[in-house]
């Protein structure tokens, strides 16, 4: 990627849909599936990824003239693992419930391909401003995918949206038993896989349609 590539603003926008980490590059599937049975989980995970990705991208971009090619990956890993530890401790201190609910998925951000890929592709070659916007765009794209999935799963599975924090009921309680029972499967693992498969399919379909229309 040459340095006179996309501007910071373009990079920010790219992360949201054209290069969406989950829906386009199919990276970071593990947290996407694991934490999206509630909106709270999705939002907290996005926050953690935003924190880690932004800090790692900015730091890597700052020290990029000093990076030696063969020690590059080592430096990235060191940086990411440190920021993940900090994020994990912050969650345990201030959002203890969420830290318990997300459990191992917060430390698993260390091996999330999105972050190391962004350090490698973007931050180690671009100035700080570009790297920062890239991190924000990618995290926002990640968050968007997570929230889309979590909305579907929480509404169909529990009938609520932000049920734990805000207590919003989307589907009335009295309805459940006779007319419409909550789809427990959406909260369980199979629901995650199938919902994400359909989401990917829908995005691909929409993209193909848009492209066909442009060409026509």
């Amino acid at each position: 990627m040459s340095s006179d590539g996309p501007t910071p603003a373009e990079r920010f926008l790219r992360g949201i849909l054209p290069e969406n980490p989950v829906l386009r590059q199919v990276l970071g599937i593990c947290p996407t599936l694991a934490v999206t049975n509630t909106m709270e989980g999705a939002v907290t995970m996005t926050g953690a990824v935003l924190f880690v990705l932004t800090c790692a991208n900015v730091l890597v971009s700052l020290i990029r003239p000093l990076l030696k090619p063969h020690l590059r990956i080592l430096v990235f890993t060191l940086t990411i693992a440190t920021f993940v530890t900090i994020a994990d401790r912050l969650l345990a201190a201030f959002l203890y419930d969420m830290s318990r609910q997300l459990g191992p998925y917060i430390p698993l951000i260390i091996v999330n391909c999105i972050i190391i890929a962004r350090c490698e592709i973007c931050a180690s070659k671009q100035p700080v401003r570009t790297a920062l916007m890239d991190a924000l765009g990618q995290s926002l794209g990640f968050g968007l995918a997570l929230c889309a999935l979590a909305s579907v799963r929480e509404i169909l599975g529990f009938g609520t949206w932000f049920g734990k924090w805000l207590g919003w009921r989307v589907l009335p309680v009295g309805l459940s038993e006779r007319v419409w029972a909550p789809w427990t499967v959406m909260i369980l693992p199979p629901g995650a896989f199938i919902a994400l498969a359909l989401l990917l399919g829908a995005v691909n379909w929409a993209t193909a349609r848009a492209r066909a229309r442009k060409e026509a």
């Binding site: 693992a81 530890t85 260390i110 091996v111 369980l188 199979p190 896989f193 829908a202 691909n204």
Partner: protein
């Protein structure tokens, strides 16, 4: 419960019931990426199982002796330094950093070892080894072990010794291998099918994984029932009467 039944329960629970891919969703990247052909999937699964065992051994040892709160080695060094405070030394904040480097190191070690001593094996799954460093399965197993390690009595309920940690790691690896091989078998057949264009590739793989996960849900409760059988056969008559005959409704 006897030792053997505890081990059996741990094995069933980590390989089938709480399968890495279908229950915890870890290792989804290789699960989608390297499941095109059965032989490759098998190689990946074998490599993961191997590395996860080595990494589990290393991480258990380091956690128990150095990182966990009140670990013996750290405490010894701490006492020798004679600090003014009497707090228990706790290095657990370094866990994630240490684990990721232990994994990277284990992968390097395994790669060198296999290349030198088993060239044919290296040809079979050597290409997957570098990829494994960022495989979530390994880190997940290390984290799970961390949760169960507590050198101070009472700090962790039912702490794991090295044997349990290793059994857990091997079975988790085998569970991952099972998942990825089953998936590859299905995908080989799928090449002949007419998949709707938007779902081609990751989409249909995830959909199939969903159905497989549904099948794996069927294992849920198996360990609870088995545990009850073991318990009621091991306890004396008067106590065993307290547990009901097993029922099959969830």
């Amino acid at each position: 419960m006897s030792y053997l039944s505890t081990v059996l329960l741990l094995a069933i629970s980590s390989a089938l019931i709480n399968n890495m891919v279908f229950h915890f969703f870890v290792g989804c990247c290789p699960f989608i990426g390297v499941s095109r052909r059965v032989d490759m999937a098998f190689g990946m699964g074998a490599a993961v199982t191997f590395v996860v065992t080595v990494a589990a051994f290393l991480s258990w040892t380091i956690t128990w002796f150095v990182l966990a709160p009140g670990a013996p080695l750290t405490t010894a060094v701490w006492r020798w330094l004679r600090p003014p405070s009497s707090a228990t030394p706790d290095l657990s904040i370094l866990c994630y950093l240490v684990y990721i480097f232990v994994i990277a190191w284990a992968v390097q070690l395994v790669e060198m070892y296999i290349r030198k001593f088993f060239p044919s094996l290296y040809k079979a799954f050597g290409v997957f080894l570098p990829l494994i460093t960022t495989n979530c399965v390994i880190l997940f197993v290390c984290l799970e072990i961390m949760k169960h390690v507590g050198p101070i009595p009472g700090s962790v309920p039912d702490p794991w010794r090295l044997d349990k940690a290793l059994i857990y790691a091997v079975c988790a690896g085998l569970g991952f291998m099972l998942a990825i091989v089953v998936m590859a078998g299905l995908r080989e057949e799928l090449e002949l099918c007419d998949v709707p264009a938007p779902l081609k590739g990751p989409g249909i793989t995830l959909a199939i994984a969903g159905i497989l996960a549904l099948a794996f849900l069927g294992f849920t409760g198996m360990d609870a029932n088995l545990a009850k059988r073991f318990q009621s056969s091991a306890l004396p008559e008067g106590v065993a009467a307290s547990t009901n005959p097993p029922t099959h409704a969830p």
